[in-house]
C-alpha cells in the first residue's frame, strides 16, 4: 500500500521553491491588485487593514504568546510609531512625502522600540499582573502626553496625513515581520523566550539570561508595533490620541488569543478572521459590538486555546522539527517457495 505523505513531509521536500513561489505571488498580487483594479477599493482597504493587524498580532504574540508575559500597553507603541511617522511625512519633511515614507515608518518603529526599551527595563523588574499594570500605565501616559503637546495637535489629533500606505508596502512589511519574528522565535534566543514562558526560574538555572531575553523580545515587539502604527496613520490620514486607547489594545489581545498564543500561523489567522469578521458584521450597525464579543466568548468556551492553540503550521517550522520523509521501502521479498 502506498503511504500518502503528510503535508509536513511534502513541505519539507519542496520548501524553497514553494516559498519563493508564494512570495512572488504575493508580491505580484500586491502590485497587480491596485494597478489593474482587480478588487474594489473597499476590499483593498480591508486587505491593507488585515496586513496591519497581522503585524500587530505577530508583534504582540512575541511578548504575550511566545514569552507568556501580559502586555496591555501595545497601543501606546502603536501611537508612538503612528505619530512619529506622520510627523515625519507631513511636518518635518513635507517636500516629498512619498520618498520619506519608508524612512518615516522605520523611524516610527525605532522610536517605539526606544520607548519599549525604557518600559522593558522598568517593567521587567516585575512580571505577571504587575507587568500588565506598568504597560497599562505606560499606555495612559502616552495618551496623556500626546493630548498635552500642541505641536502634534493635542486632543484634536493630527490631520492631513498623506495617504501613502499601499498594498505593496503593507505586503512587504508583513513578509518582513513574519520573517524576522519566525526566525527570532526559532533561534537560540527564541528558545530562551519560550523557556521564560514555561518557567523563569528553571530558565535561569539552565543559563538563559532571562532579563536580556525579555527586554530584547519586548523591543522587537515594540518596533513592529510602531511600524504598524506608521502604516495605520498613513492609511487613515488622520490620527488622534483617543484612537490608541485600551480598546485598541483589547483588539490586539483578542487577535492574538483568538488565533492562538505562541503560533505565527495563529496570529496571521487571528488577525485575518477578526478583521474580516468585524467587516462582515458591519450591517448589524450598533449590534456589531455586541455580537462580536459574543462570538468571541463562544469561541473561547469551545476552543479555549484559540484557533491554532499552541500548534504551528508546518510552513513556519524549521526543517529539523518536521517529521522525516519515510525512506523508500525496499520491494517486499517474496516468501520463499518450498
Amino acid at each position: 500500500m502506498m503511504r500518502v505523505p503528510s503535508a509536513a513531509i511534502l513541505w519539507r521536500r519542496h520548501r524553497t521553491p514553494t516559498l519563493a513561489g508564494l512570495i512572488l505571488l504575493g508580491a505580484m498580487l500586491s502590485f497587480g491588485i491596485p494597478r489593474f483594479g482587480l478588487i474594489n477599493e473597499y476590499w483593498q482597504f480591508i486587505l491593507i487593514t488585515i496586513g496591519i493587524n497581522v503585524i500587530l498580532a505577530l508583534a504582540l504574540n512575541l511578548v504575550n504568546g511566545f514569552m507568556g508575559e501580559f502586555s496591555v500597553g501595545h497601543a501606546g507603541f502603536m501611537a508612538a510609531g503612528a505619530y512619529i511617522a506622520a510627523m515625519g511625512t507631513s511636518r518635518w519633511f513635507p517636500a516629498d512625502p512619498a520618498l520619506v515614507f519608508p524612512f518615516a515608518v522605520i523611524l516610527g518603529g525605532l522610536g517605539a522600540s526606544v520607548l519599549g526599551l525604557v518600559i522593558a527595563i522598568l517593567a521587567f523588574k516585575t512580571s505577571g499582573d504587575y507587568l500588565a499594570i506598568v504597560t497599562l500605565a505606560f499606555l495612559m501616559i502616552v495618551k496623556s502626553v500626546l493630548e498635552n503637546i500642541d505641536a502634534v495637535g493635542g486632543p484634536r489629533g493630527l490631520l492631513g496625513i498623506v495617504p501613502l500606505t499601499t498594498l505593496p508596502w503593507v505586503c512587504g512589511w508583513v513578509l518582513l515581520s513574519i520573517w524576522v519574528i519566525r526566525n527570532l522565535v526559532y533561534s537560540r534566543f527564541g528558545r530562551g523566550i519560550m523557556a521564560v514562558r514555561e518557567d523563569v526560574v528553571a530558565a535561569n538555572l539552565v543559563g538563559v539570561h532571562t532579563r536580556e531575553v525579555k527586554i530584547l523580545a519586548f523591543v522587537v515587539s515594540a518596533f513592529f508595533t510602531g511600524v504598524a502604527g506608521g502604516l495605520f496613520a498613513h492609511l487613515l490620514q488622520f490620527i488622534n490620541p483617543r484612537m490608541f486607547d485600551i480598546i485598541k489594545s483589547t483588539e490586539m489581545l483578542v487577535m492574538v488569543y483568538l488565533g492562538g498564543m505562541g503560533s505565527i500561523a495563529g496570529s496571521i489567522l487571528g488577525a485575518s478572521v477578526f478583521t474580516v469578521m468585524m467587516e462582515l458584521l458591519r450591517p448589524l450597525a450598533a449590534w456589531r459590538m455586541v455580537v462580536m464579543p459574543l462570538i468571541l466568548v463562544l469561541l473561547m468556551l469551545f476552543r479555549p486555546r484559540g484557533i491554532m492553540g499552541l500548534t504551528e503550521l508546518a510552513c513556519f517550522k524549521p526543517r529539523e522539527e518536521l517529521p522525516t520523509p519515510p525512506a523508500a521501502l525496499p520491494p517486499a521479498a517474496l516468501p520463499p517457495v518450498p
Binding site: I133, M140, E147, V290, R305
Partner: protein, 291 residues
C-alpha cells in the same frame, strides 16, 4: 488651609469609590487568581441601574441602592457562571479574553439602550454643612460612611467568617479543597456576588457624586481601580482599600494644583514609580516561586 481640607474631602469621596471597585477586583483575584476585566463595566451597569430605578421608576434612595447592588451582584454571578467557570481548567488567558469580551458586551448593550451620556438627577435633597469654612455635603458623608461600613464588613467576612476562610483556602489550593467538603463553586460565586455588589454600590455613588454617566465610563474608572488594587497588593483586601484612597488623593491633588489634563499623566507616572520601588504593591507579600 480650608482649600486643602476641602480638597481632602473630595479625595476621600473619590477614594471611597475607587476603593469599593478595587475590592471587587481584589476579591476575585484573591480567590481565583483571575483579573475580572468585566468588573469596571459592572460598576457602569450599577450606575445605570440606579438611574433607571431612581429617575424612571421613581423609587426612594434606599430601594435604589439595594436594587443597584443586587442587580450588579446577580449579573456578576451570571458572568462567572457562563464565561469563567467553564474555563477554570483552561489556560489563564482564555478567561482573560472572555472577561474582556463580557465587558465589551455590557458596554455595548448599554450603549444600545442609551446612546448618549445621561444626567443623573439627585435621589435626595443634599444639604451642605459648613464647618469652619469647609463645606461638607450630606452626600459626601453618606458616600464615605457607606463605603467604610461596606469595606469593614467585607474585611470581617474575609478574615473571620467561614466563607472568608474558604475563599482564602481556594486561593491556596483549589484542587484538594473539595476533598474536605468545601463547595468550591458556591464559594467562588459568593466572591463574585460580593465583588459585584460592591461595584454596583460604587456605581450608584459615582452617579450621585459625578452626575453624568455614559456606557464607556466603566473602562477608565475600572482600570484605575484595578491599578489601585495592584498598588495596594492585589489579592489583599486592606491593600485594595489603601490603594483606592491613595489613587483618589493623587488624582484630586493633581487637579487641585495642575491643569486637569495632566491628571492621568501624573497619577499613572506616580503609580509606575511606586510599583518599581515596591513590585508587589504596598501590602502585597512576594510569592516565592517554586521550580
Amino acid at each position: 488651609m480650608t482649600y486643602f481640607l476641602q480638597q481632602s474631602l473630595n479625595a476621600l469621596q473619590l477614594g471611597s469609590i475607587y476603593a469599593l471597585i478595587a475590592l471587587g477586583y481584589t476579591l476575585v483575584y484573591g480567590v481565583l487568581r483571575l483579573i475580572n476585566f468585566a468588573h469596571g463595566d459592572l460598576f457602569m451597569v450599577g450606575a445605570f441601574l440606579s438611574l433607571v430605578a431612581g429617575s424612571l421608576l421613581g423609587l426612594p434612595a434606599g430601594v435604589v441602592f439595594v436594587l443597584a447592588v443586587l442587580g450588579t451582584a446577580v449579573l456578576a454571578v451570571l458572568i462567572e457562571r457562563v464565561a469563567y467557570r467553564p474555563l477554570r481548567d483552561a489556560p489563564r488567558v482564555s478567561a482573560v479574553i472572555t472577561a474582556l469580551a463580557c465587558g465589551l458586551i455590557l458596554e455595548h448593550v448599554v450603549l444600545l439602550i442609551s446612546p448618549y451620556p445621561q444626567h443623573v438627577p439627585p435621589l435626595f435633597r443634599v444639604t451642605n454643612f459648613s464647618l469652619g469654612g469647609v463645606v461638607i455635603s450630606s452626600l459626601q458623608i453618606l458616600i464615605v460612611g457607606i463605603a467604610l461600613v461596606l469595606m469593614c464588613g467585607l474585611d470581617w467576612i474575609f478574615r473571620r467568617s467561614l466563607l472568608g476562610i474558604a475563599m482564602r483556602a481556594i486561593a491556596k489550593d483549589m484542587k484538594t479543597l473539595p476533598l474536605i467538603g468545601v463547595p468550591v463553586n458556591r464559594v467562588v460565586a459568593a466572591a463574585f456576588l460580593l465583588g459585584g455588589g460592591l461595584g454596583g454600590a460604587a456605581g450608584m455613588m459615582y452617579g450621585q457624586a459625578y452626575p453624568v454617566i455614559e456606557p464607556y465610563m466603566g473602562i477608565m474608572v475600572g482600570w484605575k481601580a484595578f491599578i489601585a488594587a495592584v498598588v495596594g497588593g492585589i489579592g489583599n483586601i486592606r491593600g485594595a482599600m489603601l490603594g483606592g484612597y491613595i489613587l483618589g488623593t493623587v488624582e484630586i491633588a493633581v487637579v487641585a494644583f495642575f491643569p486637569s489634563t495632566y491628571r492621568d499623566f501624573v497619577a499613572f507616572t506616580l503609580l509606575v514609580v511606586l510599583l518599581i520601588v515596591r513590585p508587589t504593591g504596598l501590602l502585597g507579600v512576594e510569592e516565592v516561586q517554586k521550580v
